[in-house]
Symmetry: none
Subunit: 192 residues, 4 copies
């Protein structure tokens, strides 16, 4: 008889939006961006195709929100203060990377699958770079303190190593020599 209050509507929207994003993550991860259809996502979320467009303006939009939101969630752990940088923090960071992957394996699968689809990369490149650049910068300034002559290059190098290890871990977590790799990486940077 009465209209819903605007608070009720907000609540519905927030929950439904989250539901769709979760479904999208699952489907994108399983099928990749192009093979995943809006129908797949809708069916995974248990709603109609049409409703998705009440919450997102396009398939690309869903991808962006999924990825950028996830990136932010993941990478906020990585930003650390260059002022008070210690060797210990560096070691922690390497361990943290693998911990994160253990917690959110499917997220990471998606991110890597996206990274490797060049056309998809084009869609999110800008948003992604806005997140990554400050991290690489804070990274670089730490590496400068550690004595590296070209901290920017070293930051990219280190990032690439982490990517490679992560990727291999994700593809086959059971057989990957995680402990060995963590220690090996630490030894390269003379970490305890």
């Amino acid at each position: 008889m009465c209209p819903r209050t605007s608070h009720q509507f907000e609540d519905i929207r927030k929950k439904k939006r989250h539901l769709i994003l979760e479904a999208a993550l699952i489907v994108f991860t399983k099928k990749g961006f192009h093979s995943a259809s809006i129908a797949n996502i809708a069916s995974e979320a248990g709603i109609s195709k049409g409703l998705i467009y009440n919450y997102f303006k396009s398939k690309e939009d869903i991808l962006k929100v999924t990825l950028v939101g996830g990136f932010e969630h993941i990478f906020k752990h990585y930003r650390f203060d260059p002022e008070n940088f210690t060797i210990e923090q560096f070691g922690k960071l390497i361990e943290l990377t693998f911990d994160l992957m253990e917690d959110d394996l499917s997220y990471w699968k998606l991110y890597f699958s996206i990274l490797m689809q060049t056309d998809v990369m084009e869609i999110i490149q800008e948003d992604l770079m806005n997140i990554l650049i400050p991290i690489l910068d804070s990274f670089a300034s730490c590496l400068a303190k550690m004595g590296f002559k070209k901290p920017q290059d070293e930051a990219r190098f280190f990032g690439a190593l982490l990517d490679g290890l992560s990727l291999n871990y994700i593809i086959d977590p059971e057989h990957f020599p995680k402990e060995y790799c963590i220690n090996r990486l630490k030894s390269i940077y003379n970490l305890p």
Copy 2:
């Protein structure tokens, strides 16, 4: 005009099949799997759409054959003889990796773009593993000679590093500090 007195049909078939695969590789690497159409491949090969189905049973079938063939082409350079192993060869291998990527950038993009799609991977995983395992093995025995205590683990570690560097290079070849990374990687393994 039409029904020709038939001899050497087999030969014609083999050549046509090869022609199609070459065309498919070009188109797949240029456009990616999903955006490449059978019409594109047919036109690149200079034949009709219909004829393709005389040689392959589906678009996926073409992809599988293309991918596995490509893997073989690329990875045959990586298997080297542990008997006659030298430090120089190891250094060469690192350079070779980046050279290969430079030569066949779009190749690699294709492979990476396919690699992480769960469903596609399932299709080619077995074929892929048959190629990769001997490489990792030949690798491990080299590393054993270099004095590594756990050569199998070190082989996976090194492979992961190469993956990470490759991936980052492919994503953004222009800005990637390629020379720096090659030298840095060499220095880690004490290579000249």
Copy 3:
């Protein structure tokens, strides 16, 4: 908050209905019938989509009511009294036609765009004819006074001229030689 003690519901209904029609006219003339959405109309009226269906049974229904109302609005200027007919009035009428078009260009575009769609026309034809026939009649009796032997035919002829000029003016108002055509038309009928 919700169920209000009810009085003068009728009054509210009438005002709301009018509000919706005004919004619909604005949106229809701006976007055309097919490109205008119920959401657009609702938003223009500052109400919810759902509420519109409390007052009209469909989008077509809104269009019909809008169109017929608009015709009445526009054509009421055209009926003039044969008793007190003067040559001046005739001249005024020609000028009035172009003035109306200038004032309500988007109105006219809408009407013309709808007019020739067979199925839509069938819906409003009767209503339209009820408005047009008396106009043609009042017209004819004026023309009879001016000495035309077949005033009914001349009325249709004159109406057709006005239609043609209007149509061409609406299609391309900037380049249409409006003043020339007004004077030319007047000269045909020997008007000052």
Copy 4:
């Protein structure tokens, strides 16, 4: 057993293309551009939706071809030689207009329905103008010979009159005083 000859294919394409255009004309005329769907056209032509895109690249394309082709067909009768222009030709032209309409009533209905849909006009305006401008020009130069001070404006005026008469004739051919209007128009231009 043998592939069709390219002549056979050409023949099929020409016929099918024509079939689709005829169907499109019918459907566009009945429903208007926006309300007409590709499915409608396909079903009218007795073919699948998909096939239409084998012959036309979009719905807009179909519209353009339908209209421009029709315009060319119709208007080629109108171009006459300004060098050898005679009063008789002018009179013929008026009669010709009505004859053409009698022959191809449904064509004309479409053209007028299109002319009145402003958004559709935007699609074809350029193509249409390319056809109309030379006609109006050849017209204007005739009118100049007849002594009109502003032949360009007079050409547009005369064109508008023809439009208006045509439009009224098309809407209701049975009751329209065709003969009266032809003679009336001739008398305006002092034609025999």
